[in-house]
């Protein structure tokens, strides 16, 4: 592993240069009259159709980190890593039922971020601020993880050190700054094409080289044989199901997934995509099995870094030129979500912190300018996380991120259906869920599966032993799931108390029919369309 692999690296760099060009070109794609509007820079003009949405949301939800970490988990821990499959299956029916309402109300009222909705629904800038901060804090380590994906690929090609990653990220930051959401939308086409190509080839070539699926599952069975083999142990089943459910609920609360959905042009585009996006789940399921293939092939991770197991397997199995393409797929796969996440975080900062607390009279031009700068700051923050903090720690941060973003569920997702909660009760529930979640994560230690020794005392995973709560069982459960239950319980109880005390409820500025509005509804907030000289709202329709 000493030398640099020239062929692979050259192909990787060529693809990287190509998407860089695309990223800058994207500013001219579907060119708006004025890119200096948050609807244009931060939501791509809110006009993406089925195809663009499929690539954009797919490129957004299935990150490089997923493609690297899920197989690594299968390689290291066996069947438990397969939770990513049920997780990404149940995601879409949930999206279908919930996000469609958020799309409608956001379009009617012109909301750019989930916190915009929370503010109007609950009449509470404080709650909106909490949702915005939760979103930004949860997103930062997620961006950092994308860098770990790139790092794993570079390491496998023999490129060490931080400078290449810094360079890659500066380039990414520059075209995101100039093109906004259009850049990742355009690059996502390249990313997903390469990812599918890589998976199809991998799923045909590698099993045939290894002697078939029997051999692959047999090797995994042998490795994990002492426990439940390649199935889940009885004690891990609750964890598996709650982790899948909790992760699915967390994913659609992340600002970046909401950004992707809000950028689509109408409700039917979203609905249609919910039946087309599971194609990525199939890809992810097949990729997960690369972890078992690596066991059968006797692959060893580069420098003992578990995240390099997939690149190392590809390096071992593919000719150099194709390994280069596969690495480009993972590398570009990191750029797309990183760009969308930084845009989503920047939108949150601009709308719910800058405009709310710093400069209330900011014009839409000023908003767009602030968001562009904020996207640079967010990426810089993620870069610093990678350079100065142990990569393992950013994986822990990501774990925490999932637990904390879940705590916005009552205000955001449940709030789309009911206004029953009291606004201050939501704040109390958020605080309780946060506190319990952190406390539980702190008390989980990481145990080496082979030796049974404690590797780390705290923040060692998300599987919480129910025995610690006094239950007489070895079963574990996903921390985020418990935390959100506590959150909901506190919210409900506090609502009863606050209502009994006759505390002011605040005024909900959304209306029932907002939640059903569609693109051609005259009340829908519409950005100036360069194709029209007449106002978008028809005469007589503006009063509603």
């Amino acid at each position: 592993m000493e030398g640099i692999k020239t062929t692979e690296l050259v192909i990787f760099i060529l693809f990287f240069l190509f998407v860089t060009g695309l990223g800058f070109y994207a500013a001219r794609w579907r060119r708006p009259t004025d890119l200096l509007h948050l609807d244009e820079w931060g939501l791509g003009g809110r006009k993406f159709g089925s195809w663009v949405t499929w690539f954009l949301v797919g490129g957004d939800l299935y990150t490089a980190y997923t493609f690297v970490a899920v197989p690594a988990l299968m390689f290291g821990a066996g069947a438990g890593g397969f939770f990513a499959v049920p997780y990404t299956i149940i995601l879409y029916p949930i999206f279908f039922l919930i996000l469609i309402r958020l799309w409608s109300v956001s379009h009617v009222r012109g909301y750019v971020t989930p916190a915009d909705f929370v503010r109007a629904r609950w009449d509470s800038p404080t709650l909106a601020l909490l949702v915005a901060i939760t979103g930004i804090v949860a997103t930062m380590p997620y961006i950092a993880l994308q860098l770990i994906g790139i790092e794993a690929v570079l390491k496998t090609m023999g490129v060490k050190g931080e400078i290449p990653i810094v360079v890659a990220f500066i380039i990414l930051a520059l075209y995101t700054y100039s093109s906004g959401l259009r850049a990742p939308a355009l690059i996502a086409f390249v990313k997903d094409t390469l990812i599918y190509l890589t998976i199809i080839v991998a799923i045909i070539v590698i099993p045939s080289k290894l002697g078939g699926w029997d051999v692959i599952f047999g090797a995994a069975e042998e490795k994990f044989g002492s426990g439940a083999g390649i199935l889940l142990p009885a004690t891990g089943q609750l964890q598996y199901a709650t982790l899948a459910l909790g992760s699915a609920l967390a994913l659609f609360l992340y600002p970046h997934s909401i950004t992707g959905v809000l950028a689509s042009k109408n409700r039917d585009v979203i609905k249609r995509n919910m039946s087309a996006l599971p194609a990525y789940s199939l890809a992810l399921g097949l990729l997960a099995l690369l972890g078992y293939m690596a066991i059968a092939a006797g692959t060893t991770p580069v420098d003992g870094d578990g995240n390099t197991i997939v690149p190392a397997l590809m390096d071992q199995m593919f000719p150099d030129w194709f390994a280069g393409i596969a690495f480009a797929a993972i590398g570009i796969g990191a750029l797309v979500p990183a760009a969308i996440m930084s845009i989503a975080a920047a939108n949150l900062f601009t709308r719910n912190i800058y405009k709310e607390y710093i400069r209330k009279d900011a014009s839409s031009r000023q908003e767009a300018k602030v968001a562009k700068v904020a996207s640079l700051v967010v990426k810089l923050g993620a870069l610093l996380v990678i350079i100065f903090i142990d990569p393992q720690f950013s994986i822990d941060l990501q774990l925490i991120g999932g637990v904390i973003i879940l705590q916005t569920l009552p205000a955001l997702a449940i709030g789309l259906f009911t206004h029953w909660f009291h606004r201050w009760a939501l704040i109390a529930g958020w605080a309780a869920g946060m506190g319990i979640g952190m406390l539980m994560l702190y008390n989980i230690s990481k145990i080496d599966p082979a030796t049974g020794e404690v590797v780390r005392e705290h923040f060692g995973g998300s599987a919480f032993a129910l025995s610690k709560l006094g239950f007489d069982t070895p079963t574990t459960i996903y921390t985020g799931f418990v935390a959100i239950l506590v959150n909901l319980l506190v919210t409900v109880i506090a609502t009863f108390i606050l209502r009994a005390m006759k505390q002011p409820e605040g005024t909900d500025t959304t209306r029932l029919e907002d939640y059903f509005a569609d693109e051609d509804d005259p009340r829908v907030h519409d950005v100036p369309d360069p194709l029209e000289d007449a106002p978008a709202v028809k005469p007589g329709g503006s009063s509603g």
Binding site: W51, P93, I100, D521
Partner: protein, 113 residues
């Protein structure tokens, strides 16, 4: 410009002359609400619940092409998810093709229907 006025005319004829926009809008809004409350949406519930019932698929047999059931069974749930979301989409969609432009031909057809 030309397309815009064409679309307006279509809306007028569909609304039947007087205050076309208002009645048109109300009808649309009601249609949307009934779509959102459609019983078809219940079809999505099994697609959420079944993949979470671990004891259902935590087994090796029956195997398929050397794959234990735990693995191919869960991948098969993807088909379940696709089937249910497709059916609900078809039953609750409001336009023939979501990708036609708001001012384009698709929207005129919709208005006439």
């Amino acid at each position: 410009m030309v397309e815009h006025s064409a679309s307006d005319n279509a809306a007028v004829s569909a609304g039947g002359g007087e205050a076309p926009d208002r009645s048109d809008r109300q009808r649309k809004s009601e249609r949307q609400q009934s779509n959102d409350r459609s019983a078809w949406n219940w079809l999505l519930v099994p697609a959420i619940v079944i993949p979470l019932l671990v004891p259902l698929y935590n087994r090796v047999e029956p195997t398929l092409f050397g794959w234990p059931f735990f693995y191919w069974g869960q991948l098969a749930f993807i088909a379940l998810g696709v089937a249910t979301t497709s059916v609900v989409y078809q039953k609750t969609k409001t336009r023939k093709d979501p990708d036609t432009d708001r001012l384009g031909r698709g929207s005129v057809e919709r208005e006439v229907r």
